[in-house]
Amino acid sequence: MSEREPRPDERPGAEDEHALAALLERAGPRPPLPEEDLARIGAAARAAWRFGLARRRRRRRLATVTGLAALLALALALGLWTSRGIAPAAVAEIAAFEGRLLASTPTSRMAPATVGGRLLAGSALETSGGASSAALALGGAGTSLRLGGETRVRIASAEEIELTRGALYVDSGERATGGVRVRTPLGTARDVGTQFSVRLIENGARALEIRVRSGAVAVERTGGELVAAPAEELLIHTDGSVERRELAADDPAWGWALAAAPPFAVSGRTLGEVLRWACREAGWRLRYESAELEARAEAIRVRGGVGALRADQVPFAVLPGAGLSGELSSSELLVRRAD
């Protein structure tokens, strides 16, 4: 490798930084890791570590005392190895928030949370103020969880959330098979691969509002199970009565969940990926004018960021650069060649 003289106008380390920037760009964004796998590994590792500690202590202590410790540690290790989710483990990560967000762990009191903070099973979260919101990455299957204003939840596990106040939006991802349960005092909503929200309404009479954007939600409650269909809203009252109404996937009622969406790094992704993400967030169907355009969108890589643009604004920012345009009509984004 040959040395070269730095140009006078070149600040120290600029070439170094350029090489690092190129490396990161070519690697692209980090794909998410399966949190449930990491949690299971973490629990097993902790058990092994404790077992190792106990074993070392056994060598230093009297045989009767250390023998008991080793047996206890072994029992703990075996319990953790064979029973997932017993030990507290990180089950969610804070992706973004607006306003004030407080978090507590099973062993600590409520304190201001930070982006990137990982939440153990049993952690509680609270948004403070009507305009506040938060987005979490739940588990490892790509589930996105969003909290509306004045909301309080407890993350019981990567599959179970307890909602005690406010509103929660769940997007279990395109490939997810569902399985997230939202427990409330008025019933439990269980998704089957979907986007939905659950809100506890407490203005005088209590009620549970379930909105389904895509997929379906099963609601378990006293008196039997209900199923909420796509583009449907259920209002379940404490007396058992249920009101149903239609709610389009791009109804303005979903606006808070769109605004609370976590940042999405578009650089390095294909145009097709970016459009699918934007349409899912906005509640639109995506259609291309031709199969050729669809194939072209999968071959075009997006470069750079979209800053603070919302998902529903992104297609109209990125399509012109590819010589394409987007036309929105009846909840459908039609991608065509630019005139």
Binding site: E25, R26, A44, R56, P263
Partner: protein, 208 residues
């Protein structure tokens, strides 16, 4: 030559039974090891889970033997490579070795065409996984700052605002983040951690 004092202190605290030290250990190493193994095992989650769990449990039962000759990340990565090698040996198959073909990468002597974006020569999955694992291995705010700067192309001012820092402090943080990234990348086996004068391409070393 570094003596990996922080790593030795961490393992000493773990040996003394310090739960917070174990939390720090798990936080720092589980993700990069998982990502490191996942790409070398063809994305097989079940196999990756088994290998990483075995790597960590075996390493933890002999954590007293860590002397700081190499960083903990290097030590654990070597253990993980060994587990993968043993797995393939027991199955009688060879792991898929990955090395980017220089001929497919832009030559340092031949400048990239002006209309070609860096994304036009994305790294192979295995090579990219090393970069991602290195990001996983450094403090979260360092990794985020690097991603904001180089993937989202945010200006330093915007990064400073996100981190509630003065722009000068954000610059300083980015400098430390770059250093931490280079170190982690090297420790994971990245052969050509970007250094001054290094060619503008990188080779991924064979997995095991």
């Amino acid at each position: 030559m570094t003596d990996h004092r922080e790593d030795r202190e961490l393992t000493a605290r773990m040996s003394a039974g310090d739960e917070a030290a174990f939390d720090a250990f798990a936080e720092r190493f589980t993700r990069p090891l998982y990502r490191f193994a996942l790409s070398r095992l063809g994305g097989d989650r079940d196999l990756t889970g088994d290998i990483v769990q075995t790597t960590l449990t075996r390493a933890l039962t002999r954590i007293d033997s860590y002397r700081g000759e190499a960083s903990l990340l290097t030590w654990l990565t070597a253990c993980c490579r060994n587990e993968i090698r043993m797995l393939f040996r027991s199955r009688g198959t060879a792991p898929v070795e990955v090395e980017l073909d220089d001929a497919l990468l832009p030559s340092p002597a031949a400048p990239r065409p002006p209309d070609a974006s860096p994304e036009s020569s994305l790294l192979s999955r295995e090579a990219a996984s090393l970069v991602h694992a290195a990001l996983d291995a450094i403090p979260v705010h360092y990794a985020r700052a690097l991603e904001w700067k180089y993937l989202e192309r945010l200006p330093v001012q915007a990064i400073a605002e996100r981190l509630s820092l003065h722009p000068k402090a954000a610059e300083s943080l980015l400098t430390r983040a770059r250093e931490a990234f280079r170190r982690a990348y090297r420790e994971l086996g990245g052969e050509a951690a970007p250094q001054p004068g290094a060619p503008d391409h990188v080779r991924a070393r064979a997995a095991t």
